[in-house]
């Protein structure tokens, strides 16, 4: 597709912010357009990075589950982790990736809460592994403001 989506959104934002907003006499509407421009800028960046970000997160969570599963004594949770670790992203549509991502996140919450109830060394190591994954996820989801 040409022009690319990020170009279409980027130039639309440029027109909104540089031409349309200044022509408005209503300062509230001007500030609304300013905010809409920022949000559209976010959307353009998400269009570019969205699939890769979700595929990366899903892979990180599957690797974590694969590594933790053998050390989980609760049979039902261990099985869930093993099953989730073996799944794959069949589609690269954002909606499909989100569904998988949310299912994996729910299991991650269960795993972390389970580990918090244990006081053994193996659990301590796994808790740190979980936080490593969460930190990476938080960093990858961070989005910078325009001009920063």
């Amino acid at each position: 597709m040409n022009p690319d989506i990020d170009k279409i959104i980027g130039y639309s934002v440029q027109k909104l912010a540089a031409e349309i907003a200044p022509s408005l006499s209503d300062s509230f509407q001007q500030s609304q357009i300013g905010l809409m421009s920022i949000v559209l800028g976010f959307a353009a960046r998400e269009y570019e990075r969205g699939a890769e970000l979700r595929v990366g997160e899903n892979a990180e969570m599957r690797r974590l589950f694969d590594s933790c599963a053998p050390k989980i004594e609760d049979g039902s949770l261990r099985e869930e982790l093993q099953e989730a670790a073996a799944t794959k992203d069949e589609s690269l549509r954002i909606t499909a990736l989100n569904q998988t991502n949310w299912a994996l996140r729910r299991l991650l919450i269960t795993l972390q809460a389970h580990l918090e109830d244990r006081s053994d060394d193996a659990a301590r190591v796994m808790r740190r592994q979980v936080w490593d994954v969460l930190r990476k996820m938080a960093e990858s989801r961070m989005i910078s403001l325009p001009g920063r």
Partner: protein, 340 residues
């Protein structure tokens, strides 16, 4: 639309002031957050010697960012204005939807002032230290005030010092439960951590402003703080909650050493302690700082839900679901991850 609103407002004020017809002019909507519609206007009461008044109308939107008791903001403004803090003079509170379709209140406009931009790298320029000292002193004065003397003991919140922390965690956990669209593992971990590491009881029950930060107060051209705004989340609780919220890194453009982009953290806390007569125990404050980032995340989750459901499509709600939520997730992951 604003002509109709102006006319209805004039009719309302004429009835309220009972001094004949009221002229309302220059009614314009201004930015004031997504949880209330905010308008500036001028009103001239009837009679030959009545001066025109510069006023602000705060009306409930069709859906609120955070559901708040609408009388709360007005009563808090009334109480702290009376106490002598820089708070606008309240004019009228109307809970009936009849006059303007939704409940609203009116207060004095504090003119020729500006609010610091929330995400600006340097919101106060040459005045940052002067404003910073006033900012933390006024917060200390809010903490020092006696809710009973202010007649605000019926506000929402904990009435027992040992219940403050758990009450607030429960309150915001409920918001997450209700409004979460996608699973939030970092926020969930924060809730569990907060519940299992509760801080010592509050030193006293105070009125907590609830959203005391850059962007929610006005200052003038001399760098004097003139109006503390947005009291809609005011409640009873631990005064450290407000201090922790005020020094949250989101308002400091991530520079936690200089809260709100104003004065160094150590100085800010010392000023607050002096003005409040309270101590900011580092461990207790540390807990409330984690809580502040969690509460922020809960607010952003709620805002994103409002937008996603089409109940309030103010772009600030879309923005909140992206930048501030990602920011607070990152802060929480960093702080909690270090302690794991």
């Amino acid at each position: 639309m604003s002509d109709v609103l102006a006319q209805r407002l004039a009719t309302y004020l004429a009835g309220k002031w009972a001094r004949g017809p009221v002229e309302v002019r220059n009614l314009v909507r201004i930015s004031g957050g997504a949880s209330r519609e905010t308008y500036r206007f001028r009103a001239r009461p009837g009679g030959p010697f009545c001066d025109e008044r510069a006023l602000i109308l705060r009306r409930d939107p069709p859906a609120s960012l955070i559901e708040t008791e609408r009388a709360t903001e007005y009563r808090a403004i009334e109480a702290f204005h009376r106490l002598g803090l820089p708070v606008p003079e309240p004019v009228a509170l109307e809970l009936s939807p009849e006059p303007l379709e939704r409940p609203f209140f009116i207060m004095e406009e504090v003119e020729n002032c500006t609010a610091g931009a929330i995400l600006s790298p340097d919101p106060y320029g040459e005045f940052r230290e002067k404003i910073g000292r006033q900012f933390f002193e006024n917060l200390g004065r809010i903490a020092r005030a006696d809710p009973a003397a202010l007649k605000l003991l019926d506000f929402d919140g904990a009435t027992e010092p040992r219940a403050c922390a758990s009450h607030e965690v429960a309150r915001w956990e409920k918001v997450v439960e209700t409004d979460e669209v996608e699973p939030q593992p970092i926020v969930r971990a924060a809730i569990r951590w907060l519940k299992s590491h509760l801080p010592p009881p509050a030193q006293k029950i105070s009125i907590v402003h609830g959203d005391y930060r850059t962007g929610n107060f006005l200052f003038d051209a001399e760098g004097d703080m003139r109006a503390i705004l947005d009291w809609e989340m005011a409640h009873l609780g631990d005064p450290l909650e407000d201090l922790a919220w005020a020094i949250d890194p989101l308002w400091a453009n991530a520079d936690a050493s200089r809260p709100g982009g104003m004065i160094p953290r150590v100085e800010a806390i010392a000023i607050w302690e002096e003005a409040s007569g309270l101590k900011a125990d580092p461990a207790a404050l540390g807990w409330w700082e984690i809580f502040a980032s969690f509460k922020g995340a809960a607010i952003w989750i709620s805002a994103a839900r409002e937008y996603a459901d089409g109940r309030n499509i103010d772009p600030i709600n879309a923005f909140s679901g992206w930048y501030p939520l990602a920011f607070h997730n990152q802060i929480l992951a960093g702080r909690l991850g270090e302690m794991a």
